[in-house]
């Protein structure tokens, strides 16, 4: 690990004021410390924001305001989250382990980096870690990597479960930074790799997530489901966050579908949603919706399985949600 300075910020204004190139914010450390030890992250200074007073969960209009420093386990255990956003609680509980969830913060969870093995290995090229060095995953081992929205430069996936649920819930991410405060809608915080895979999100240098605000829960039934070959403590091969609201006459009034494990960002399946709305809830419509989304997939040789897996998962989950 490269030598660095450590400082603790008293409040968010001080944290932002301490920012300069080479500074990184430290939350729970579950990903950043890991990456520093691997030599992937090489900050000059760590500004510890884990103790900022951003650890509350409060009602916000019809929704919920979740402080960025809230621990993942506290988020999943909170009565309002369990009652009103069970899909989010489930997504958080499906991620990592009890110990990691006790440490990891909501802000840090969103900003965690890909687990692509080449990204994590500084002895090998990686466009995300070292722009322009190449992407060995495309010809090499990409079995766990993206089938949607990837580029010639990067086929990484975003590893978070929580972010998939937040994307389906239309969460809004509040950030503060050298340029002031702003709100970033959740499908939209994370970028697709394009020609700049080194940028995971649309955040500007020095910007700090302060809160995630959930709008009122969407009507209908919801579910988070994660596929993995190990029964626990494993990243998703594919995951889904889905909400389905069906009218009394069997018509899909509204729906949300987001996929994890398939793209550089939590993947909101807008094409599937569009196909679903107004259709008659049932296996045929669900299969058509899944196809509408997954026909856009461009799998690589060793991750082609993700396409039928995601398709089946969409259909199965919607069937389970349908009345």
């Amino acid at each position: 690990m490269k030598a660095f300075e450590y400082a603790r910020a008293a409040d968010q204004a001080e944290a932002v004021a301490m920012f300069r190139p080479g500074v990184m914010y430290l939350g729970g450390g579950t990903n950043l410390v890991d990456l520093m030890r691997l030599g992937v992250a090489r900050p000059d200074t760590l500004v510890d924001v884990s103790r900022l007073p951003l650890d509350g969960i409060e009602p916000d209009g019809g929704g919920l305001r979740i402080g960025a420093a809230v621990r993942n386990s506290d988020l999943a255990a909170h009565p309002l989250v369990r009652e009103r956003y069970p899909m989010l609680a489930r997504a958080v509980l499906e991620g990592a382990s009890g110990q990691v969830r006790n440490m990891a913060t909501v802000g840090g969870n969103l900003l965690q980096r890909t687990r692509c093995a080449y990204f994590q290995d500084v002895s090998k090229p990686c466009n995300k870690r070292l722009p322009g060095s190449g992407c060995p995953a495309i010809e090499g081992d990409h079995a766990g990597l993206a089938v949607l929205g990837h580029s010639h430069a990067c086929v990484a996936t975003h590893p978070s479960d929580m972010a998939v649920a937040l994307a389906a819930l239309d969460a809004r991410v509040h950030v503060t930074g050298p340029g002031g405060e702003r709100v970033v809608p959740m499908p939209g915080l994370h970028r697709l790799p394009g020609d700049e895979p080194e940028r995971d999100t649309v955040l500007e240098p020095g910007e700090l997530i302060t809160a995630v605000v959930l709008p009122a829960p969407p009507p209908g039934a919801s579910r988070y489901r994660k596929v993995r070959e190990r029964a626990s403590f494993a990243f998703a091969l594919v995951s889904i966050a889905a909400v389905l609201d069906v009218d009394a006459d069997g018509t899909v009034a509204d729906c949300r579908v987001a996929l994890g494990g398939v793209a550089h960002a939590p993947w909101r399946a807008y094409h599937a949603e569009q196909a679903l709305r107004g259709s008659r809830a049932g296996e045929d419509a669900f299969a058509a919706a899944a196809e509408a989304e997954m026909e856009r997939a461009r799998p690589l040789p060793r991750n082609a399985y993700k396409v039928p897996m995601a398709r089946n998962l969409i259909v199965r989950t919607l069937l389970e949600l349908a009345p």
Binding site: M1, A3, F4, E5, Y6, R8, L26, G28, G29, T30, V33, D34, M36, R37, L38, L46, D48, S50, S73, A76, A77, P79, R82, E83, P86, A89, R90, L93, E94, A96, S97, G98, Q99, V100, N102, M103, A231, S232, F233
Partner: protein
Amino acid sequence: MEITLTVNGVDRAIDVDPRVSLLDVLRERLGLTGSKKGCDHGQCGACTVLIDGRRALACLALAVAQEGRDVTTVEGLAGGEELHPLQAAFIEHDAFQCGYCTPGQLCSAVGMLAEHGPSAATEDLTADPELTAEEIRERMSGNLCRCGAYPNIVTAIAEVAG
């Protein structure tokens, strides 16, 4: 940097390099080698300790970030010569072989038993579930045991959970 923290009830002031993990402070500086280094990347659970009463991974915790925290390691679980009920149950139910994951399993179990709320194994997330074997297995899945003593670990924890 100078930090102070409480380890197993004893206040400690230590001068540490910011790069040093809490795990390495415990093992290399304080002689508390009960907390184990199995992977150093938060992937095995062998380094699990209690930080302010909650189970956490000492390998991913920078020591400098633990200023003022209360840390309990496996060495601090027993009250003098009186073993913690989980320690006694681990012996009685043969919940280990090589013993290297055991301190982490124990600290994790102590923390887990104090936790509230559902797990990924819970059907109804709004209810507080009973601690069935299935719940214990899921909640303890952050602690790898390569010897495969899982069934006995579950039995030992279930006995103490009552």
